[in-house]
Symmetry: D2
Subunit: 440 residues, 4 copies
């Protein structure tokens, strides 16, 4: 099977001719060796079959290594950088902002850094949101707090108006911290910027608490989110254990993919059922959830269920069709399951005590744990290096444990899913001892 | 104004004639001084007016000091102790169980200790719940876990059947860990026990996560609950701060009294409104919550509300009447407020982003923090000392920072409330800067 | 035995004639009831013998209740308040500072608040330490951090120079947050202030992480310190458990009294020996520590020891005498024990693995936990109420669960000790199952 | 430059002929696809130069993928597995033990699992350490505790005696959890096992809290250790900040490499100097630490230093030579620096306040955080899959974010170091703003 090909070429604004002000080590040799060269690449797909022929290294299957370049595109004195955070909260936002500001200021000597408030909205005049001047002092202690000091909001806005604002502010560098939608917005902004012949580097730091972006090994905040989710599952376990036929249900984040649910189940070996969007399940029938749950209760008198918010949508669709509401926003799989399970056991004449926990806001709003803090600091630093070097339309990512640049257009082309045949889900099945399938 | 009188006399099963096996210190003198004498009392009400005449110390306004007696009622070799935990979970249950078991075993040499499963239900034959033999090894590590190793359940059961089980098991000592209802059940059991001429000491360790029992300075688990609640309020604050006109609503425990809500507000100076059962409030009108909230948003663009689950029930009663459901169990003040606030601002044409958090199960199921652990250990030890000395129908309590015995019949005679004129609420008003009243 | 008499009369600067700007509730009646009256007292010693005659309530055995007065001494517009933190760090310092500033500012409308840097040194011109202007914005987030935003230092300075600085700054209110030495300094300052006919209210918030001040139920930061100490004891337990004849030694704070050590032992039932200043012990001999330790290792193959820093000083004195150094500061009981135990078992030919942990700086520098945060907030508020009412030479304290004023001269007259015959130590003996005495 | 070649071939005990009892998914297709095939490889070195020619995939630069095989070597009913933990404590030991036991038991149906006590010593008759029978119930809650339920010890023992014990116990599978020395011991055991013609699979789970093993992306417990170290650095920061010219020194683990120190510095942007074994530094001279520290104090009046235990050994060697002790074990770089810095500033006539913190035992003994828990669970599972498939002399490792098998002989052939020219140290330099070099 031939290797899959990609287009990992990262666009640039122009030739990098300016000597980097970052002083690199000369202690360990004559040459200045620790800038990253433009031809340093990282192999993307490392899974090979023994004996497989590997092609010559190029951007069809290698990613550009991130890091400081010896020659940069922008004169630091000319730079005016903007930072914007979009979408739902995620642990680490403030750490990323802080790292960008500090790297710009201390490493490159950039003195004009502007925070855009409440997502792309902050660019739109009608909302009248004041911009924030950023410098190391302003951001000094922000990482002790959850959330984003810039605030956030969902949704985009008129691209032309956004670019008007970029022009008004004279930004030539924009750091977007957000998810799929944000990145699509950033690409649209980049298109308009180019149409107007502006030289604005647009660099994204991918944010997805669900960890469902492609071409990124681990999104910032994800580990903190799992750590925090574990506390809720522990609570559900205690509540289930101490009641008569106690059933703890924890709804976790994960609209399209069940990474948080899967990891949380692995961290706490007290979970019996993990329901994720990638794996459909039935409620009724021999193999369905209800019957499995009944068997579990008969044996152990308690059960803990993790359900990702995007799981079992096909079950909700039925509901939605029957009740003709058509309002998909109302469909809450957690509350739906809670009711269904309650009804089922009432009909069966079995007393159960259901405890339902939805910790989403508690998870999102927490501050980054130390390991995410490190990751955010490093992501922010690489983002600045990329922008200063004139890279654009790229995300900072970690792949195969190295920091790399991923073209935004690749990143939005597909999502990341839990592979039902992969090692993560295999380990979940083993840890939970849940059935291989709950489809009849 | 004459002092209020109580009846703090603690009933006993009979004369204490057995020499305590607890060895007390003789190092610091010839006399064995650190047993607690039967005439050691603690003044209950310490608030006096200058110049006030104080009466002679007696049980009309003094409480018996708890602690080991030199003479005890039961021969340790004859003791069979039962332990039961009832009602909702609360941090520290396992610590109390563990302390009772260890004090019985190591201090008094008692070897028959039985855990009753799932509250008073565990006594009832129809539920067929196995009893648990308890000893120091079985309980060694239970305090690292939240919940109760014995499980719990709400409600009582046929008193006669319970006492039948006590007779069958040959229990002569019963430790009940529970709240108001549990204590009333314990008194009914004591009545039936007496009617049958049994000698069973019934000692309660008061459990109320709401801290709303009278004659007890602080109930175990309360501080842990507040610590945990603080995390949710912090989350609500971050979510509110980072959204446009963000409103964070946290529903906390407190059916009849708002102690958790009040303390949590003091611990986190980010709360703007604290709604508790003791202080009625209006939604509409000049002084009502909605108008106050609108003013707050106009000024600061965010707000955090703590609402105790028992707050504003009069508002819900109206609702219940209008919708004719009559089902008081459905009335959830948190969700009600969330909807009402959403509707109000929609009508006002003001965009708000409401984040609703209900952390109750996470709070209840957590394990005791170190200070509650100490408190539980000491409560459990005093409970055993009381039972061994033949005390009965009494709770172990802390008043004025000393461990005391409180007759159960006094404890169930009234509840504890947040005094709207007292120093706690005064400090809440100052810390939150909320209006003195939200009644028109 | 007649009751012990004290002199709890709190000095005042003069008559309180100014109407308090604090608005109190009128909702619950016509009268303004929740100011604290000058004749509201709290009984100090609540332990009585049945039948004991109690005297008329006066300041020989009652404490003044703290809280806002209806009439105050200072016009808020004339107030210039200073705040100083002295001595070693303690969890909660920033919370107290923050509460004082906020209460002054929001409740009384005071606008001139000055932070003195690094203890009393901040008053002394030769150190050239800049003062800090304080307001609610400056202190808004300081309570998330440990330590004191004002810094601290040990020791006093020339009293006359300090009062010169108070005059220069025009302070008429000084809040001292510190321990025994700080309070003695505050009294000396008060004397000099009076000699110069100045009207300066000097109010202290007692700080002692060791919890060894008299007339105060619990000092702020103490609970947090115990919580943090518990982590170290847990570490020592794990290290001891997993090594061959592992011995974990944790040195905790407590120069003169062993409260932290005793409480920590109660919180973690893994401790076998608690060594505190109040209870002397031998190393050698039948009952001595070494022999007890040998017995323990023979039985369980591991042991955990908590030693307060002031324990066993008589053993160190011997050492000091033999080595003629005379430098008491070098005598570290923890390292001394570690060496002695190592030597002893080497001579006995028994392999032991000693793990020594000294977490003092980690404990001191942590931020206040939620319950200490509440306590600090309330202490700070009462301190402001006292100063505004013209009280002086007084500490804010909690006794019998109420906030009271304690004259500084009483507070420095004696220390608080763990009573070897009292209930705390009794519970420690029971929880650790250590010998009643380790003196031969 | 040609690619470096390795020998990643993993030895096997023989042909795998037994059908695996693990049931794999058939839901998503006809074929059983999620066993791992023997020819699935992972590229080791993913850093390439653009245009570089890559060779055919073989074990000279690819690692075998870990995971369950369709055919296994051992009949589960014939397996007797041993588990041993060696060396210093590390967060996650219990999680790994638990995962091995559960995977053996539940996935493969193995029923004879034996825990060896206190490292390789547990094999040696003279220590008379009882073995432990392991099963899922015994290990159910062990992961809530730090340390190793089996205990540990340093050092090996007579290989022949160890293999005698393996024969006596009839073990055909041995899981060694330990570091470099343990792995060398395991290889020696494997040699002796082979000499005796025994079929014993020996699989290691690499344990190094310092993260200094080669061919492993991240060692278990490392992230937890960094998280815990951060608390100490925070304490040092607070102590330094609040004293006059405060200097906080934190000694962290890292005998040969400074990964913990480097990561901790990145997690807490309050560190000014990071001293690690890989980067020599001078004390004296223009560029030396003392002068840099003096400059820092002049500017900011405080400083925080992290020093890895193996840093600056060349400085200590001098000391050791001068004092003729020759005892390298006594050379403690942390205390050495503390004294040197104290002396230096005393001579300079500058008041400094040095706070020294050594949190090593607190870090080692903590329990695994959620993300390390997940990692340990997965490492343990892969270890069992490898052993069941008849692999031997191999470690379970993660490389490029995939679980792989690494031959033990490769793993012990070199250590992992912080590359002074690499991106980690570059980011440390930027975050701390410390000088590029402190060598004159």
């Amino acid at each position: 099977m031939p290797r899959r090909k990609y287009d990992f070429e990262v666009p640039v604004l122009g030739e990098a001719r300016v000597k980097s002000p970052i002083q690199m080590s000369k202690t360990y040799g004559d040459k200045i060796v620790n800038y990253v060269r433009e031809d340093e690449y990282i192999l993307y797909d490392v899974e090979v079959d023994k004996g497989e022929e590997l092609p010559e290294a190029d951007s069809s299957f290698c990613l550009e290594k991130a890091g400081p370049r010896e020659k940069i595109y922008f004169h630091p004195g000319h730079v005016h950088a903007g930072i914007v955070t979009c979408g739902g909260l995620c642990p680490g936002l403030n750490n990323v902002i802080r790292s960008i500001v500090r790297t710009l200021w201390y490493q490159y000597g950039v003195r004009r850094i502007t925070g855009i408030r409440n997502g792309y909205r902050g660019f739109l005049p009608q909302y009248d949101l004041p911009i924030m001047e950023l410098n190391p002092e302003v951001v000094d202690d922000i990482h002790y707090m959850g959330g984003s000091m810039l605030g956030s909001s969902r949704g985009g806005g008129d691209i032309s108006e956004i670019v008007d604002a970029i022009e008004r502010l004279n930004l030539n560098m924009l750091f977007t911290i957000g998810g799929d939608g944000t990145t699509k917005g950033a690409l649209a902004i980049a298109d308009e910027v180019e149409r107007r012949n502006l030289k604005v580097s647009i660099i994204g730091i991918p944010k997805t608490i669900d960890n469902d972006l492609s071409f990124i090994q681990r999104s910032f905040g994800f580990e903190t989110a799992v750590s925090k989710a574990v506390e809720s599952v522990y609570g559900a376990h205690i509540e289930a254990k101490d009641a008569i036929n106690g059933i703890g249900i924890v709804k976790l984040m994960g609209r399209e993919s069940g990474f948080i649910a899967a990891h949380t189940a692995l961290a706490m070996s007290v979970v019996n059922f993990v329901l994720i969007p990638e794996i459909p399940f039935d409620l009724e029938g021999e193999k369905g959830l209800m019957n499995q749950l009944k068997k579990r209760l008969a044996e152990k008198h308690r059960a803990v269920i993790i359900v990702a918010e995007g799981a079992g949508q096909e079950l909700l669709d039925e509901i939605n069709e029957t009740d003709l509401s058509g309002n998909k926003k109302l469909a809450n799989i957690g509350l739906f399951l809670k009711d269904k399970i309650g009804d089922y056991f009432q009909e069966e004449g079995i007393e159960v005590n259901i405890k339902y926990i939805d910790p989403s806001y508690l998870i999102r709003s927490t501050s980054a744990d130390p390991n995410d803090s490190i990751y955010c600091l490093r992501l922010g630093a690489q983002a600045v290096h990329a922008a200063m070097a004139g890279k654009t339309r790229a995300l900072i990512s970690m792949m195969n444990d190295r920091f790399v640049l991923v073209p935004m257009k690749m990143a939005v082309s597909k999502r990341n899913f839990v592979d039902p045949e992969g090692s993560l889900w295999r380990d979940v099945l083993q840890a939970t001892r849940m059935p291989l399938t709950m489809k009849n």
